[in-house]
C-alpha cells in the first residue's frame, strides 16, 4: 500500500540524513547558537590618575635599551632626591640603579656617580644599608672585561668610601683590596701579575691616578682610626661617631648590627683549604676591628704596594704625586 503524504512526512522525521562528503554535519533545526565574542581595549601608556611626580613608574626606565633614556632617568631621580629621600622609593631606586655600575655607557655611569653623591649628601644612612650590593657590583666592575668599566670602578669605590667608609671597610676589606690591586695590575692570579687587568692600548695615567686615589682612601679609612685621621673634635658629627664614646649597649645606629656573626647564612665549605693556601684564610678573616685589617694589609699587601709605588713615583707626573702621598700615608700608619 502506498504511503500517504502525511505518513511520508512522519517518516521523514525519523530518517537519518546522509552525511555529505566535505561538508559539515547539518545543524539541527532547534539548535541555538551559544557562541559569543568579547573584545578588550588596552591602552599601554595611558593610566588613570597619572601622577607626573610618581617616580616608581620610572624605575623600569633604568633598564631601557636607549642610553639617553637611562641617563635622563638618572638625572630626574637626582633632581628629585630632596623630596623622595625619606620615601619608600629609595630602596628600589638603589637596588635597580646600582647595577648600572657595569653599564656600557660612560655618561650613564657618570650620572650614577652624581646620583650617589646627591644621596650621600642628604642621607648617608641609606647608602650604608645597601653596602653589600654596592660592593658586589663594584667587584663585578673591577673584574669586568670591558676596560672602560674596569677603569671606572674605582671612582665608585672612592665615592662610596666618602659616605660609608666604616661599613665598607669592615665588611669587605680583603675583597676590595684584591680588586684594587687587580685593577692596578699588581694583583696575582696564580702567578701571573697583571692578569686581571684588561689590557688597554695605553695605560692611561689619569686612570692610574684615580685608582691610586681609591687605594689611598681605602688605606686611610681602613687602617687609621678617627684620631689619627685628625678629625676635628669640635664638630658635633665626629664627636658622636668617635668610637671612644660609643656605648655598645645602646640601640645600634648602624644597620644590620649582627650581620657579621653570620648566624643565618650558610657558609660554603671550602673544599680544600690547603690548595688555596693563605688566600682562603684571608677571605675568611673577619675584619671588623682595625688591628686585623692592619695586620692583613701589612702581611699580604704592603710589600707589593711599596714596590710598585716606587716605580710610579719615578715616572712622575700626577700619578707620582698621588703615589707619593700614599707612600707618606703608609709610612705614617705602619711605623
Amino acid at each position: 500500500m502506498t504511503k500517504s503524504r502525511k505518513q511520508k512526512q512522519k517518516k521523514q522525521d525519523f530518517l537519518r540524513k546522509k552525511l555529505k562528503v566535505g561538508k559539515p554535519k547539518e545543524r539541527a533545526s532547534n539548535a541555538t547558537n551559544t557562541s559569543f565574542v568579547s573584545k578588550t581595549i588596552s591602552i599601554r601608556n595611558q593610566h588613570l590618575d597619572h601622577d607626573p611626580h610618581d617616580l616608581t613608574k620610572r624605575l623600569t626606565l633604568l633598564k631601557h635599551h636607549n642610553t639617553n633614556v637611562r641617563k635622563e632617568t638618572l638625572i630626574t631621580f637626582q633632581k628629585s632626591i630632596p623630596s623622595i629621600i625619606n620615601s619608600r622609593v629609595m630602596t628600589p631606586l638603589l637596588t635597580q640603579s646600582i647595577p648600572l655600575i657595569c653599564d656600557e655607557s660612560q655618561q650613564v655611569r657618570q650620572g650614577l656617580i652624581d646620583l650617589i653623591d646627591e644621596i650621600g649628601s642628604h642621607d648617608a644612612e641609606i647608602l650604608k644599608l645597601h653596602c653589600n650590593i654596592f660592593v658586589l657590583y663594584i667587584n663585578m666592575a673591577m673584574t669586568h672585561i670591558f676596560s672602560q668599566i674596569q677603569a671606572d670602578s674605582t671612582k665608585f669605590l672612592s665615592h662610596l668610601l666618602k659616605y660609608c667608609s666604616n661599613e665598607v671597610v669592615r665588611k669587605s676589606w680583603v675583597k676590595l683590596l684584591n680588586g684594587v690591586f687587580g685593577v692596578l695590575g699588581w694583583g696575582q692570579v696564580g702567578k701571573n701579575e697583571g692578569a686581571s687587568v684588561v689590557q688597554t692600548k695605553k695605560r692611561n695615567a689619569k686612570y692610574i691616578n684615580i685608582h691610586l686615589n681609591a687605594l689611598y682612601m681605602l688605606v686611610e679609612y681602613g687602617c687609621q682610626d678617627e684620631r689619627a685621621r685628625g678629625v676635628d673634635s669640635d664638630t658635633a658629627v665626629s664627636f658622636e661617631d668617635s668610637s671612644d664614646l660609643r656605648n655598645p649597649y645602646l640601640i645600634p645606629d648602624c644597620p644590620q648590627p649582627f650581620e657579621h656573626l653570620k648566624l643565618f647564612t650558610r657558609e660554603l665549605k671550602v673544599k680544600d683549604p690547603a690548595a688555596n693556601g693563605t688566600n682562603a684564610t684571608l677571605l675568611s678573616l673577619a675584619t671588623q676591628d682595625i688591628e686585623t685589617r692592619r695586620a692583613a694589609f701589612s702581611e699580604q699587601f704592603l710589600p707589593v704596594v711599596l714596590k710598585q709605588i716606587e716605580i710610579i713615583i719615578k715616572e712622575g707626573g700626577e700619578c707620582g704625586k698621588t703615589a707619593n702621598n700614599l707612600k707618606k700615608l703608609l709610612a705614617k700608619v705602619f711605623d
Binding site: P248, K262, L263, A274, Q288, T292
Partner: protein
C-alpha cells in the same frame, strides 16, 4: 623514752634462720638507738653478740655473710656493743678471712666466692675504722691483731688488689710502725703488680698501687751510723729522707727513656734541648729503688714495640704523681724545678722543630708508630704538669709562662706550613686536648691578664672551636664515593647486594653517624673562653667565632633540653659584659635566649634603676659651679647609656632620670629652703654674694653659660622667689649680662631652685 620495741634476744633468735627481706628488717631494726641501753648490756646484747659470733664461725657461707653484715651494723650503730664486743667480732671475722685466704683458689671458684671475700674484707675494714680513733679500744682490740691482719691482707692483695689495697693504704698511713716488719713483703707484692699486671688493672686500682708504693716510703730511715763524723752530726736528718729518695729515684728513671727517644728524633739540632736533657736528675746512689722495672725492649723492625715508650712513661708519671700528691704526716720537699725540666723535655719531643733521624727506614708502619707515640710522649708531660699545678697552685707561679709556651709545641701543625693547624691530628687527640684545656684553665685562673703570650691562646681557641663541633665519621665516604662506584662494578653482584643494604643508611641519614660532645667537654671549653674574653681583647675573627659558637650551641641545647646549661649562661654573660671590639654587644640576642631564666645580670642591664637613696643625698643647689658642671655633663652625655655609679657628682645620669630627680627635688626640698630666705637682712647679704659668684663663674665657665633670670614675687612677705635657670649659648649671654646688671639691684636672689621650667628649656635645647 619507753617505746615498745622488739627485744634483742628475739631478733637474735630469728637471725639464725632469716633470709632475704626478713634479714633486712632485722638489720634495720637493730639500727635503732633504743638498743643503746646499759641495762640490756649483760643480758640481751651479749646474747645477740653470741649469736653473731656463732654465725661467723659457722661453716655455711651464707651464715658467715649474714654474720659479717650484722656485726657491721651492730658495731656502727651501737657504741656499747662496739666498746665491749668489738674486739671479739673483729677477731672472729679476721680468723675466718685468714682461713679463706689460705684456700683462695677453691673459694673463688664457687659462685659466691668473690662476694664473700668482698664482704669479709669490707666488714673488717669498717670495724677497724670504727675502732681506730678510740684510744683505749684501739690499744686493746686493734693493735695486737694488726700484726696478724696485715700479712693476711698482703697475701690476699696479690689476688684481689681492688679490695685490699684501700685497707692496706689506710693501715700503712696510720700505723706505720706496726706495718714495719711487713714492708718488704708488701713491696714484693706491689712490685710484682707493677711489673706484670699493671696494664690489666683498672685506673682506680693502678692509682691505688702507686699510692701504696709511695706510702711504703713513709718509714723513716734509721738514725745515722756511729761512723759518722761529729762534724756531720749537726745536719738534721729530715723526716722525709726516705720519701725523697723514692721520689728522686723515680725522677731519675725519666732520663734513660728520653735518651731512647734520641734514637728517633735528632736531638742534636737543638742545643738547648741537649743541655736540658743533660741536666735531668740522675740518681747517683747505686741502690735505685725502682730498678725493678724491666728494661724496655724496642725493635725498629717491629714498630709496634715502640708503643712501650709512652706506656712506661705513663707508669712513671703515675708513680711520681703519687709521691707528690699524697698527704704525709711530715712535710716533704718536692723538687718542682726538676719536675718542670722533665716536663719541658717531654714536651719538646716533637717533629715540629726536630727532624727524624736520617738512618731510620721510612716505611709506613714505622712512620705511623712514630707519629702516634710522639704526641703521647708529650701528653705525659702535660699530665704531670696538670697534677703539679692542681696540687701546688701558686707555688709554681714562675713556671706558668714556660708551661704555656711549651703547650704550643703540643698543637700539631701541618707539614711545610708555618701556622696552619693540622685539624685531622687534632681530632684524634681529643682526650689529650681535654687535659690541655684543664691545665690551661688552671694556669690562667692564677695568671689572669698578666699573661703576655697570647699567641698560644689564639691557637688554642681555634683548636677548641674545631673540637667542639660534632664529629662526623662519614665525610670521607662522600669524598671518595666516585672511586668506589668504579670498583663496585667489578665486584660480584651478590656481594653488592649484601654491602649495599648496610651502606644505605650512611647516605640517607649521615647525621646519625655523628659523635656529639659531652657536657663536661663544653664546660671546660666554656671556662677557657670565659677567661680569654675576661682578660684580653681578642682580634675580631676568633671573637666572632666564639660568639657564633655560644649562640648556636645555647640555642641548640635550649631546644633539646629546655634550658641552657650553666656554663653557657656564664659564657653569654661574659660576652655581653666584654664586647671587645664589637660595635654592638649581643645583649638583645642573649636576652631572647635567656627569656625565662630570671638572670640577675641581664635584668639589671635591661632595667637599670637609680638607687632610691640617691635623691636625699643631693647637695642643695646653691653651688653654682657644681650645677654648671652637672649641666655640662648632662648635655654632653645626653645620648649615653644608663649605667649608674655610686656618688652623685660623678654619676652619668640619663636626662630623663635627671629630670625626674628634678621633679622629686621640687617636691622634697622647697620647705627647707624657705628658712634660708626668712629674714630680709640675711637675704640681702645673700644676694650680693650670689651676684658676685654668678659673675665670677660666668667669666670662668667654658662652654655653656648660665643665665639667672630672676622673677620676684613681691606678693609674699617671705620673699620666696621662683627662679629659673636657662641654659644658653655664648652669644646670648652678653645681652643677658647687660640686663642682669640692671636687674641685680632690683631683684633678690635668695635660693636657686630648679623648677619645672628647666625641663622645657632642656628639651628645647635638644
Amino acid at each position: 623514752m619507753s617505746e615498745e620495741f622488739i627485744a634483742a634476744s628475739t631478733l637474735a633468735k630469728n637471725l639464725e634462720f632469716a633470709k632475704g627481706n626478713e634479714f633486712h628488717t632485722i638489720l634495720t631494726t637493730l639500727r635503732s638507738p633504743l638498743y643503746i641501753d646499759e641495762h640490756l648490756l649483760k643480758s640481751e646484747l651479749s646474747f645477740l653478740v653470741t649469736k653473731i659470733l656463732k654465725l661467723i664461725r659457722s661453716s655455711n657461707d651464707f651464715d658467715l655473710w649474714k654474720g659479717c653484715h650484722t656485726s657491721v651494723v651492730v658495731c656502727a650503730y651501737n657504741p656499747l656493743i662496739l666498746s665491749t664486743h668489738g674486739g671479739q667480732l673483729l677477731a672472729a671475722i679476721y680468723s675466718r678471712l685468714e682461713q679463706k685466704t689460705g684456700f683462695y683458689s677453691s673459694v673463688v671458684s664457687s659462685s659466691h666466692g668473690k662476694q664473700l671475700f668482698d664482704t669479709l674484707v669490707s666488714s673488717m675494714a669498717v670495724i677497724i675504722d670504727l675502732v681506730k680513733s678510740k684510744p683505749t679500744l684501739s690499744r686493746e682490740a686493734l693493735v695486737p691483731k694488726l700484726k696478724a691482719i696485715i700479712p693476711t691482707l698482703i697475701t690476699l692483695s696479690q689476688y684481689e688488689p681492688e679490695l685490699t689495697l684501700p685497707v692496706l693504704k689506710k693501715i700503712l698511713k696510720r700505723n706505720t710502725t706496726t706495718f714495719k716488719p711487713f714492708v718488704n713483703k708488701f713491696r714484693i707484692v706491689l712490685t710484682n703488680l707493677i711489673k706484670s699486671d699493671y696494664a690489666s688493672l683498672g685506673s682506680k686500682t693502678q692509682r691505688l698501687v702507686c699510692e701504696n708504693f709511695a706510702y711504703l716510703h713513709l718509714l723513716k730511715i734509721q738514725a745515722s751510723n756511729a761512723n759518722d763524723d761529729e762534724s756531720q752530726a749537726h745536719h738534721k736528718v729530715y723526716p722525709d729522707a726516705n720519701w725523697r729518695t723514692g721520689l728522686l729515684s723515680i725522677l731519675s728513671q725519666f732520663k734513660p727513656i728520653i735518651q731512647l727517644c734520641e734514637e728517633i728524633l735528632d736531638f742534636e739540632q737543638d742545643n738547648e734541648l741537649q743541655k736540658l736533657v743533660k741536666a735531668l736528675p740522675v740518681d747517683i746512689e747505686s741502690n735505685n729503688e725502682v730498678e725493678f722495672l724491666p728494661k724496655l725492649k724496642l725493635d725498629f723492625n717491629a714498630p709496634l714495640t715502640l708503643w712501650e715508650i709512652p706506656q712506661r712513661l705513663s707508669l712513671l708519671v703515675d708513680m711520681l704523681v703519687a709521691f707528690i700528691s699524697l698527704p704525709t704526716p711530715f712535710p716533704i720537699r718536692v723538687p718542682l724545678g726538676s719536675i718542670n725540666s722533665v716536663c719541658e723535655v717531654l714536651l719538646s719531643v716533637s717533629q715540629k722543630y726536630l727532624p727524624l733521624k736520617k738512618e731510620l727506614r721510612r716505611d709506613n708502619e714505622l712512620n705511623g708508630s712514630i707519629n702516634y707515640i710522639l704526641p703521647q710522649i708529650q701528653f705525659q708531660g702535660i699530665r704531670l704538669w696538670e697534677n703539679v699545678v692542681s696540687k701546688y697552685g701558686k707555688c709554681g707561679l714562675s713556671l706558668f709562662e714556660g708551661i704555656l709556651s711549651s703547650i704550643e709545641l703540643f698543637i700539631p701543625l701541618k707539614k711545610k706550613s708555618n701556622n696552619e693547624i693540622d685539624f685531622n691530628v687534632v681530632g684524634s687527640l681529643k682526650y689529650e686536648f681535654f687535659t690541655v684545656f684543664r691545665l690551661v684553665n688552671m694556669i690562667m685562673s692564677h695568671l689572669g691578664h698578666q699573661l703576655n703570650t697570647v699567641s698560644v691562646v689564639s691557637q688554642l681557641i681555634d683548636v677548641a672551636l674545631f673540637l667542639s663541633r660534632d664529629r662526623t665519621l662519614v665525610d670521607s665516604l662522600f669524598k671518595s664515593r666516585k672511586g668506589n662506584l668504579k670498583q663496585t662494578k667489578t665486584k660480584q653482584s651478590k656481594k653488592n647486594k649484601n654491602n649495599e643494604g648496610a651502606l644505605s643508611d650512611i647516605f640517607t641519614h649521615p647525621e646519625l653517624f655523628v659523635f656529639k660532645n659531652s657536657i663536661d667537654w663544653s664546660n671546660e671549653i666554656n671556662e677557657f673562653f670565659i677567661t680569654s674574653l675576661n682578660n684580653w681583647i681578642l682580634p675580631s675573627t676568633p671573637h666572632i667565632q666564639i660568639l657564633k659558637y655560644s649562640i648556636t650551641q645555647s640555642l641548640r641545647l635550649k631546644e633539646e633540653f629546655g634550658y641552657i646549661p650553666e656554663s653557657f649562661v656564664s659564657l653569654l654573660r661574659c660576652e655581653v659584659l666584654h664586647p671587645g671590639n664589637e660595635r654592638v654587644s649581643i645583649l638583645p640576642i642573649a636576652i631572647s635566649l635567656l627569656k625565662n631564666a630570671n638572670d640577675d645580670l641581664f635584668e639589671l642591664l635591661c632595667h637599670p634603676k637609680v638607687p632610691v637613696g640617691m635623691v636625699y643625698q643631693l647637695h642643695k643647689p646653691l653651688d653654682l659651679g657644681e650645677q654648671e658642671e652637672q649641666e655640662e655633663e648632662e648635655e654632653d652625655m645626653g645620648e649615653r647609656g644608663n649605667s649608674v655609679t655610686g656618688s652623685y657628682s660623678h654619676a652619668i645620669v640619663d636626662t630623663k632620670a635627671f629630670k625626674a630627680l628634678d621633679n622629686l627635688e621640687n617636691v622634697v626640698i622647697p620647705e627647707p629652703e624657705r628658712t634660708v630666705s626668712g629674714p630680709v637682712d640675711d637675704a640681702a647679704v645673700f644676694k650680693k654674694r650670689l651676684v658676685e659668684e654668678v659673675s665670677e663663674r660666668e667669666t670662668t665657665s667654658m662652654n655653656k653659660k648660665v643665665k639667672i633670670v630672676e622673677e620676684a614675687t613681691l606678693e609674699t612677705s617671705e620673699g620666696t622667689t621662683v627662679e629659673t635657670i636657662v641654659a644658653q649659648t655664648k652669644v646670648e649671654v652678653k645681652s643677658a649680662e647687660e640686663s642682669e646688671g640692671e636687674e641685680d639691684e632690683e631683684f633678690e636672689i635668695p635660693a636657686i631652685e630648679l623648677s619645672g621650667d628647666e625641663d622645657e628649656d632642656g628639651e628645647g635645647d635638644e
